[in-house]
Structure formats: structure tokens, C-alpha cells
């Protein structure tokens, strides 16, 4: 389980958020939506204990299965070595990773479908490949929670689709509490059970995806008109997605 209880964070006199309470229990997945600068990243940092809380409390395991946006970027190590670092909390100060740690890391690579990256150098990988390695590393920690900081922000649509598919597969295993931030409400539709919205004006609301992903709420959240569209899937089925009506898009006569 992971969550905040009546938590507030301030930078000097500026309050980013106050009185935020939510919990994600094991088996659930929550997406955090909010405009730039509203404090999504700060909320994650507070949850992970990197950002002191002015008020309230946090609940998180010591190792929370954190997947940073850009991790280990200087590491001239193989993908497998980066994943093995996920075992750090189990090694003592003078400890060395054992065959067991190596096996756990290999297992994590299998789970994310990235075995082919095991022997590749991390610093030479693409953004999408690094993402997979970092997710495998978070799995290798064995933590009951996974926390993603904008897991799709730097990825093209194909890599977004792959990452979301993986997030959803992890959600459907129902054995972790999953939390991720994103800018795209469709990502919440694709991989979350619940949504926390950091609305303008310092208000936070949360609830199940079906209630929260709603054109009115999202229009208020981003200040852009949003509406549902039907999109044909690969096998001819129609799926509902939600898109913004950017003013530059030409109006249909």
C-alpha cells in the first residue's frame, strides 16, 4: 500500500498542495493527472520521501519500486547490470550481488519482455529501451509497489503503446500497488483503475477511471475542450478515447 494522509508541501511561502489524502492498495493502479507546474512530480517526490512534508504523513515501503524519468543515464553498464542494481537494498554495505540476485534480475527482464537488452550497454540504448530496463529494475526490487514518474513522457506513440501495455499487464496481475503520473487521460483509460486529478486552484479529486475521465472534468483540468471519439482497434472493434479540440484543428463544415 502507498499513499498520503492530509499531506501538504510548500516551497517557501508558496503552497503546492495541501491536505492531499489518497491510498493505492495492492492490486490497484492509480494515474495522477494535472497541468504542468501543479506539482505532480513534487507529489511523487513527497510520497517517496525525497521532499519533506510541511504537514501530514506518507505511507510507502522503504524501497518503493521507483521508475525515474531518466535513470542511470551515465552508467556504461549492461542492461542486466542496471537491473541487478534493483537488488541493492538486499545487499549489505559490503555486499556483492549473488547468483540469486542475478536470477531475479533476469526474471524481471523476462517479465517486461526485454531479455534481448540484457547484454546491451545501457548508455547506448534508446529512450524506450531504457524505460524497459528501469521498469525491470523496479520489479527486481521485489517491492509491493511501483511508482512511475511520467513513464511515457519522452516516448513516441509506438513506445507509449508498449509501455502502457506493460503497465496494464502489471495492473492485471493484481499483486502490486501501482502509481503513475501522465499528461494524457487516455493513458489512465489504458492502464489505471483510479485517477487522482490535481485541479487548478489547489483542489485534488480522485475516484475510479469511469467517473473521473469525463469531458467536463478534463476541460476544467486543462482548460481545453475535450470529447469522446470512437477509434477502431486492430481487430475492428471500436474503442472510446478522449481527445482535445485544439483550436488550430480545422472545423468541419
Amino acid at each position: 500500500m502507498i499513499g498520503l494522509e492530509n499531506a501538504s508541501v510548500s516551497f517557501g511561502s508558496r503552497t503546492l498542495f495541501s491536505g492531499v489524502s489518497f491510498t493505492v492498495s495492492v492490486g490497484r493502479s492509480m494515474a495522477i493527472l494535472g497541468p504542468n507546474g501543479r506539482g505532480k512530480t513534487t507529489l511523487l517526490r513527497a510520497l517517496l520521501g525525497f521532499q519533506p512534508l510541511a504537514k501530514g504523513s506518507r505511507q510507502a515501503p522503504r524501497v518503493a519500486g521507483y521508475v525515474p524519468q531518466h535513470g542511470a543515464s551515465q552508467a556504461k553498464l549492461t542492461g542486466l547490470e542496471v537491473v541487478i542494481m534493483g537488488r541493492a537494498a538486499r545487499l549489505g554495505l559490503f555486499g556483492q550481488p549473488s547468483a540469486e540476485d542475478r536470477a531475479a534480475a533476469e526474471q524481471a527482464l523476462v517479465e517486461v519482455g526485454a531479455c534481448h537488452l540484457a547484454e546491451l550497454r545501457y548508455d547506448r540504448m534508446s529512450g524506450g529501451q531504457r524505460q524497459m530496463i528501469l521498469i525491470a529494475r523496479a520489479l527486481a526490487t521485489g517491492s509491493p509497489t511501483l511508482v512511475f514518474d511520467e513513464p511515457t513522457s519522452a516516448l513516441d506513440l509506438g513506445n507509449q503503446a508498449r509501455t502502457l501495455q506493460l503497465l496494464n499487464a502489471l495492473r492485471l496481475r493484481r499483486d502490486k500497488a501501482i502509481l503513475f503520473t501522465t499528461h494524457d487521460p487516455n493513458h489512465a483509460l489504458a492502464a489505471a483503475d483510479d485517477v487522482l486529478m490535481m485541479m487548478p486552484g489547489g483542489r485534488e479529486i480522485h475516484g475510479p477511471v469511469a467517473e473521473m475521465i469525463d469531458p467536463d472534468k478534463l476541460s476544467e483540468l486543462y482548460g481545453v475542450a475535450m470529447s469522446w471519439v470512437g477509434v477502431s482497434g486492430p481487430t475492428g472493434e471500436t474503442r472510446r478515447a478522449i481527445v482535445p479540440a485544439f483550436s488550430g484543428i480545422e472545423a468541419v463544415a
Partner: protein, 350 residues
């Protein structure tokens, strides 16, 4: 089929690694033999073997031959002290570079050597030698490192350029303090001792001096070697490391104390010998990569071989000894310039 194809490169890498470490060990052995044999009084390798064998078999026998006394009383302690110092300085440099996530830092660039020099000079000024000198060199080297760490940490982040500039400031401060000590030192007794000591040389090496250096350097080397996997984790971004259950704020200090112990000891027994901690880790990275589990032992072997060789050159190239610092700087400065340029070219392109 796929497993065989996947295993072969791993096998090749293991083979390459064994080969690389074998070559480094042979290099160190050759460097030590060359150092013991070379000099005004040249001794060939079979004779060195004979002398060493006799000394091990019968350590209490009186040394009657000239070459026995040269090997066992003059050259061997000097060579071993140079090798140990080289290993300590190189390993200290590699560990420091890992913790600061930067290949450009070294005990000298960060002012640790100058701090240790001030401690040692102060000890000589007050008439102390041996363990007190060593202790003061360690404490003030550590103090210099703490100062650099505090100066360069801004909003919880430590930028490369701030670290190097802070190191320059702290180094300059301690260099000035050394000058003050020299200024007030007695020109007949302590001044020459300080000046001579600071120039950096192994020419005063004796067995007791070697034994004085062994605990500090040995403890430092052992600590860094035990922390070799931790160094990989400490090289991550601070928050990333913390999210994996590492406590970088505390664990970094274990590394710093070990480095100060090694640097302080080496300054105490041989003065300031710069550049080893920069040049050797760079070469070792090319040979074995950035994983500290391979890098730390590689630095120990290469550092020992390198400093033994340089010290032999300093001793044998001309009739009078060339100060060691001159030779290491002549090789080190160009390497540092090259690293600096490459670092910022890479940063620009990223």
C-alpha cells in the same frame, strides 16, 4: 541455438577480463623487477631472485655483499613503498571519481593533497614526525574534502564545475597555509625538512617508513575494495540511489574517509605526488570498463606498476634525482587536458 549464441560473448568477456588482469599483474611484476635491478649499480634478474630467495630462507643472515645490501635495504623498501602508494593513489582517484560521477576529479584537484600537506608541514614545524605527521596529514586532508563538499553542494546537487572550482579554492587556501608555515619555520632545521618532504620523493624510503604506511594505505585499499559494488550504486543520481535503498549521504563518507586515509598517508611518507589518481583510472577504464568491481583491482595493479616505473625513471634518468612530481605532472597534465576536452564535448553533444 539462441543460448549458445547468447553465452559466447559472455565467455569472451570473461576470457578478456582474465587476460587483462593477467597482463596487468605481469606488468606490475616486470615493473618491480626492473625497479629493483636498475640504477647506478645495476643488478640482473637472476641475481635479484637469488638475493630475495636467500633473504626469505634465512632472514637473519648478515648482509655481506654490496648488491645484497642495495637490494634488501635500499631498493626493495623504496620499490614496495612506491608500489603501495601508486595503488592507493589510483584506487583513491577511481573511488572519488565514482562518488562525484565525474572522471575529472582527483585528490589533488579537490585540494585533499594540499590539506594533507598543510597537516604534515604543521607537524614538522612543531617537531613531530612519524605517526603524528601521518595523523595530521589525514585529518587535514579530510577537512579539505569536507570543505569542498560543503562549498560545492548547492540545493542538494553537486555540479562538476562547482566541485572543481571549490577544489581549486580549497587547494589554494591550504597551499597558502603551507607557505605561512614555511615562512615561520626555522630556516636551519624545520624549513629544509618541510621543503624537501613536500617536493615528493621516495628517496627516503626505509623499511620502518614502509611499515608506517602499510596500515593506512592497506585499510583504505581494503575499505574501497569491500565497497566496490556500493560504488556502482553511489555513482547513480542521488535520489535514484535513495529509491533503491542506498543511503548516499552516509555511505559516501565511508569512501571519503578511506580516500583521505590513503592520500594523507601517501603525503606523509612521500610528499605530494600528483596526477596518479587521474591518469591511472582513465587507463583502467579503457581496459576493463566502468564497473567498480573490475575497475578498483585494475587501478590497484596499474597504479602500483605505474608509480614504481615512474619512480625508477626519476631515480635513474639523470645523475641527480628528478623530483617525482615533475614526471607525473608531465604525463598527467596532457591527459587531464584531453579528459577535460572530451568531457565537455560529450556534454555538448548530449
Amino acid at each position: 541455438m539462441s543460448t549458445a549464441a547468447a553465452e559466447r560473448p559472455v565467455w569472451n568477456r570473461v576470457g578478456l577480463r582474465i587476460g587483462a588482469f593477467g597482463a596487468m599483474a605481469i606488468l606490475l611484476g616486470a615493473s618491480i623487477l626492473f625497479a629493483v635491478g636498475a640504477g647506478r649499480f645495476s643488478i640482473d634478474v637472476p641475481r635479484i631472485g637469488e638475493i630475495l630467495f636467500a633473504a626469505v630462507m634465512n632472514p637473519d643472515a648478515p648482509l655481506e655483499q654490496m648488491d645484497e645490501r642495495i637490494v634488501l635495504l635500499v631498493r626493495l623498501p623504496r620499490v614496495l613503498l612506491a608500489a603501495l602508494s601508486g595503488a592507493a593513489l589510483a584506487v583513491g582517484g577511481a573511488a572519488l571519481q565514482g562518488v562525484f560521477r565525474n572522471p575529472l576529479v582527483s585528490p589533488q584537484v579537490l585540494g585533499i593533497s594540499q590539506g594533507a600537506a598543510f597537516g604534515g608541514a604543521l607537524a614538522i614545524l612543531f617537531g613531530y614526525a612519524g605517526l603524528v605527521l601521518l595523523g595530521m596529514a589525514f585529518v587535514l586532508g579530510l577537512a579539505a574534502l569536507v570543505l569542498v563538499g560543503l562549498l560545492s553542494r548547492i540545493d542538494g546537487r553537486t555540479e562538476v564545475i562547482t566541485v572543481i572550482l571549490a577544489g581549486m579554492i580549497v587547494g589554494a587556501l591550504f597551499a597558502a597555509l603551507v607557505s605561512i608555515v614555511q615562512f615561520i619555520a626555522d630556516p636551519n632545521t624545520s624549513l629544509p625538512a618541510i621543503v624537501y618532504w613536500l617536493m615528493g620523493s621516495f628517496s627516503t624510503a626505509t623499511w620502518p617508513r614502509l611499515w608506517l604506511a602499510v596500515p593506512g594505505m592497506g585499510l583504505g585499499l581494503l575499505t574501497v575494495w569491500l565497497l566496490r559494488y556500493r560504488l556502482n550504486l553511489l555513482a547513480l543520481e542521488e535520489q535514484e540511489a535513495r529509491s533503491l535503498g542506498v543511503n548516499p549521504d552516509r555511505e559516501r563518507w565511508y569512501v571519503f574517509i578511506a580516500i583521505s586515509l590513503m592520500t594523507g598517508t601517501s603525503v606523509a611518507v612521500a610528499g605530494i605526488i600528483g596526477w596518479i589518481g587521474l591518469v591511472v583510472p582513465h587507463a583502467a577504464r579503457i581496459l576493463v570498463g566502468e564497473d567498480h568491481r573490475a575497475l578498483i583491482p585494475a587501478c590497484a595493479l596499474l597504479g602500483a606498476a605505474y608509480l614504481t616505473f615512474i619512480d625508477t625513471l626519476a631515480r635513474t634518468m639523470t645523475a641527480a634525482e628528478i623530483p617525482l612530481g615533475v614526471l607525473t605532472a608531465l604525463i598527467g597534465a596532457p591527459v587531464f587536458a584531453y579528459l577535460l576536452r572530451r568531457h565537455f564535448t560529450e556534454a555538448n553533444r548530449a
